[in-house]
Symmetry: C2
Subunit: 479 residues, 2 copies
């Protein structure tokens, strides 16, 4: 490695020394995001945006396969519309941005920039649905939303972020509940099969559920520093909004009924999760299936005869099976190595005069650092195989990390010890009372992450009050 | 045709009777857009959004092939940032929406909701570009923008609309100018090869150019009612913004230079153009290459044995070569015919017991109404051929309509006669003075649409003042 490349690596804070600074360093050095002069808003740079496009591509395909259609709703919501569902407005009003002037005129009614679009979908559905024949309506929207945040961090918590929001209405409670679960499962598939990120599926407590909904399902991921991150949520809204907005249809017997409703979403914070689950002291490690560049080709001694020609030839070949890029700039190879390590490209292909002589290349894995020699004629087989292998290894490594960082607690002494010293998920029983949940948060900083679908009984009493336990809850400090 | 289907058709205003009402009827009946309780904002419904996705898909691919990268910039622009380029703020400030409050707090500086993002890109580029090695930067963004409009119409003029905005910076003037033209050509390709809509390429006058730019290139389309519509623009911004925002780089000799810049965009108004170029008294006619449904399969006598099975089998086969949909609902075939005519589906495939007996289907073209019998085994060949044929026919018909509605004028009497009676483009010479341009607008309502790249000389004096002519200009009333 050249001196220059060493220097580049040294500019990153060590992950175990200062996790927050390490995160910020990666966001900057891997060119993922930049700050703008708008407080709390970020610029998503091409490399991160390409990952978002991969996530979009995967999900949009899955949404369409499951019968969903995309629409676009206005960016503004009139104050009176936001106020139609009581719990909903209480949940969101404190954190919205208000438009009060258009051009030179003051508006007669102020408009908020959408924090979420339930109210707009409800108003529209109420207009377009008459009969059971019009149901279900399965709509989705890709857009940005705004929530006025006091403290922000790129991808994890920003005033504006990108997301998709699904909004569906159904004839029966069963259909809506099944939709809610179906979409949660699609999110879990995305996380595990595409982002190599294990998630825990479960239900939020009443305290943590969506404002205006009946039940919120969630997938929770665990970051390298032992803090949890909510990676996606799916809400069963029951008939709450239907009643506030008059979303009715005539059923098979000609009687008027209220629809059952769901909503569900994932956001650009997933990119923050990718950084914090997979990254290391050399930078980002991008899961192969969303990597904007899967194979970076670095010629060695590229001034020598035949090297660039061969590198170009390999690029053309590999481009047919993977997202490949050739870096033929005049930087030193060692500098390039560091740069693509920082950007977390899954495979680096090195090719120099000696390799050409032996009709082979070097493939270096980003996840393990391992280097292998591969005969040139085997690349079409070897590269897809290696990308899958890297995905599996990253997933298993992350899975193991979650397991190591998940601890059961049967009393508050154990609970606090885990939160303070071991970090990670605390598995502990809960009586179901809001008061215990509040106290736990007050005393430990940990919130209830979810009541997992797969329940166990780690004891039979509530970890806080000692009364009879109702549910196993995963707790943790969270992003 | 059944009575019911007749009724459906009769609900549309005739195109030649009341063009504006006809347009509104199609938007509603073909389920393209809906109004929301937010003044001037529209809901883009699934059928229209799917067309927008097709447009996006085509353009995004072309952008990436030509080396562009997608990014995402904040939705808000601080007032002080908008004000950095003098002409730009004058052009946009009167029509922006202002955010003055976040949550319960009044902001210290108000933020506008982006009407366009030049200022944000400039600020970002100024930070990330140091050397000529960093150039060019070829960024694009897909997003929505807001312009506070007094009178609005779905797709054509709305307070919020969807668009893409490309923003690039370059070392030399030549490179930037060539980029400006390259992107205009890609827009023209989209319109002609995908939307079957002929366009005229040219340059805007000083009066009509982009606020803060040096030159604006445009593609202009002509609607069925003879009014023009600006379908896409590409701006050469020179070094104006570079100087206001300090976008400098060190050149190959180590000297500081200002970059040359471009920006370019197309919007959801293209969907309005599609309606107004191709639609007829039976509804929308969607160009095959962006049609969400290219082939609608309508079973005839579907209760009879074997009909639905055959229809399903055909759907599976055709889905491999085209976007096909089967309507097996219990509505009458005639009703379905009207519905898909209204939605402008390019090909209707009818299949009933007699067809099955003869091993054939009926294909009905939306553009001409023509019906042909096709042996079932020929569908894989016939359908793609027919879709191309429909595209070509729609393009040629539109092209002919533009030619018939383009008239030369050598004096104001002729000019006014064309605008009032013949409608369409007026080709007339211009001396280059702003005053003549202003007077023409005042007296006729026609604006200068562009100075076409392919210049002719229809006379040698200005159509207004009679002084020596400098340029041929296309004029017209416009959307």
């Amino acid at each position: 490695m050249s001196k220059k490349s060493k220097k580049l690596v040294e500019q990153i804070t060590s992950r175990d020394e200062d996790f927050a600074q390490w995160y910020t360093d990666i966001v900057k050095k891997a060119e993922l995001a930049d700050y703008s002069s708008v407080k709390g808003c970020m610029i998503i740079r091409p490399y991160a945006y390409a990952m978002w496009e991969s996530i979009q591509g995967y999900l949009d395909k899955r949404f369409k396969e499951t019968g969903h259609e995309n629409v676009y709703m206005p960016v503004f919501i009139p104050e009176s519309l936001l106020q139609k569902e009581k719990d909903h407005v209480e949940g969101f009003a404190p954190e919205v941005a208000w438009v009060t002037h258009g051009g030179d005129e003051e508006l007669t009614e102020k408009l908020c920039v959408r924090p979420t679009s339930e109210t707009l979908f409800c108003e529209h559905y109420a207009k377009i649905v008459q009969s059971y024949k019009d149901l279900p309506k399965l709509y989705n929207q890709w857009c940005s939303v705004v929530r006025w945040e006091k403290t922000t961090r790129p991808f994890l918590r920003t005033t504006e972020f990108l997301w998709q929001e699904g909004h569906t209405i159904h004839e029966t409670k069963e259909q809506a509940e099944s939709e809610t679960k179906r979409m949660l499962n699609i999110y879990a598939e995305l996380c595990e099969n595409v982002l190599a990120m294990p998630v825990l599926k479960g239900q939020k407590t009443e305290k943590e559920k969506f404002a205006g909904g009946e039940a919120t399902y969630t997938i929770e991921a665990l970051m390298h520093d032992g803090k949890a991150l909510q990676a996606g949520t799916s809400h069963f809204l029951g008939q709450n909004f239907a009643k506030s907005f008059g979303m009715q249809y005539s059923d098979r017997d000609g009687k008027l009924q209220y629809v059952y409703q769901t909503s569900w979403g994932i956001t650009t914070r997933l990119i923050g999760a990718i950084i914090m689950v997979h990254g290391d002291d050399n930078g980002l490690v991008v899961p192969p299936r969303i990597a904007p560049v899967q194979v970076i080709i670095v010629p060695v001694a590229q001034h020598k005869e035949g090297v660039l020609e061969k590198a170009n030839e390999l690029k053309d070949r590999i481009s047919k099976i993977a997202r490949a890029k050739l870096d033929d700039s005049d930087k030193m190879p060692g500098w390039k190595f560091s740069e693509y390590e920082m950007k977390g490209v899954p495979i680096r292909l090195e090719v120099g005069p000696k390799d050409i002589e032996k009709n082979q290349v070097v493939l270096a894995r980003r996840d393990t650092g391992e280097k292998i020699f591969v005969p040139m004629e085997d690349l079409e087989n070897k590269i897809p195989e290696l990308l899958d292998d890297i995905h599996n290894n990253m997933f298993n490594r992350a899975k193991q990390s979650v397991e190591e960082k998940t601890h059961a607690a049967v009393n508050m002494k154990e609970f606090k010890d885990i939160v303070e010293n071991k970090t990670g998920f605390v598995k502990a029983m809960w009586c179901g009372d809001r008061e215990c949940e509040d106290k736990i948060r007050e005393e430990t900083g940990a919130t209830s992450r979810c009541m997992p679908f797969e329940q166990e009984e780690v004891s039979d009493t509530c970890v806080y009050c000692g009364k009879k336990a109702k549910k196993l809850v995963y707790w943790g400090r969270a992003y």
